[in-house]
């Protein structure tokens, strides 16, 4: 079984996603990335946010503010505070989005990745969007 209590899972999520200090452990959480970057992938990313990242005209990663981009963690999980909307496809190849990732915003460093349910088929005119049911869970 996981050897981490839910309360501490909430602390970890709060620290990483929203720059919330952890009392007596990380007393100051400021000074890090002001934004996290959200990317879309056509397969499970293997290394960093460039790995299997979708490519089409109009696509760019979307920032979530840190703090504020993710809701207050509860039950060991944190949901997106708002819809995460990517640019509409106006050209290029597109593809099927199967995964998303969250990065630090620097050097393509990947923090979390997960599946996209259901997958999004990106063709011309499509604007991919991750809803407020988008979640990061810690166990």
């Amino acid at each position: 079984m996981p050897a981490k209590l839910t309360a501490f899972a909430n602390d970890v999520l709060g620290l990483l996603l929203n720059a919330t200090a952890i009392a007596n452990l990380v007393p100051t959480a400021t000074g890090g990335s002001a934004n996290l970057t959200i990317a879309l992938h056509t397969a499970q990313p293997a290394t960093d946010q460039t790995s299997s990242e979708i490519s089409y005209t109009g696509y760019a990663r979307v920032n979530t503010a840190r703090p504020g981009g993710w809701g207050a963690p509860a039950s060991g999980q944190s949901f997106a505070a708002a819809n995460i909307t990517f640019g509409a496809m106006t050209g290029g190849t597109g593809g099927t989005v199967t995964h998303f990732s969250i990065g630090t915003g620097t050097s393509n460093k990947l923090m979390y990745y997960g599946t996209v349910a259901p997958n999004i088929v990106v063709t011309s005119g499509v604007t991919p969007q991750l809803t407020t049911a988008t979640v990061v869970s810690e166990t």
Binding site: M1, P2, A3, K4, F8, V12, I38, S75, G76, Q77, F79, A80, N83, I84, T85, A88, V97, F100, I102, Y112, Y113, G114, T115, V116, A117, P118, N119, I120, V121, V122, T123, S124, G125, V126, T127, P128, Q129, L130, T131, T132, A133, T134, V135, V136, S137, E138, T139
Partner: protein, 80 residues
Amino acid sequence: MAKKTEPRIVSAAGIASASTLSGDVDLSTKIQTAMSDAVTQAIADGITDPMEHRKLITAAKEKVIAEAEAEAAAKAAEEE
């Protein structure tokens, strides 16, 4: 003549389950699969409200954890 495409938003939920410190990768994978399946099934059932998806995601996670805890408890009892 090229077919005209209508602009449209296609929405989905991103589901990430991690075991940053516990190292229980199997459990995280089970949780992520259960949460993803919950959203996919909800959409197939015509439920499109993300707030409803949140409830289903949370319930799916709690169910997997409860089953894992019960399994661990049963295993411990057997070993005694």
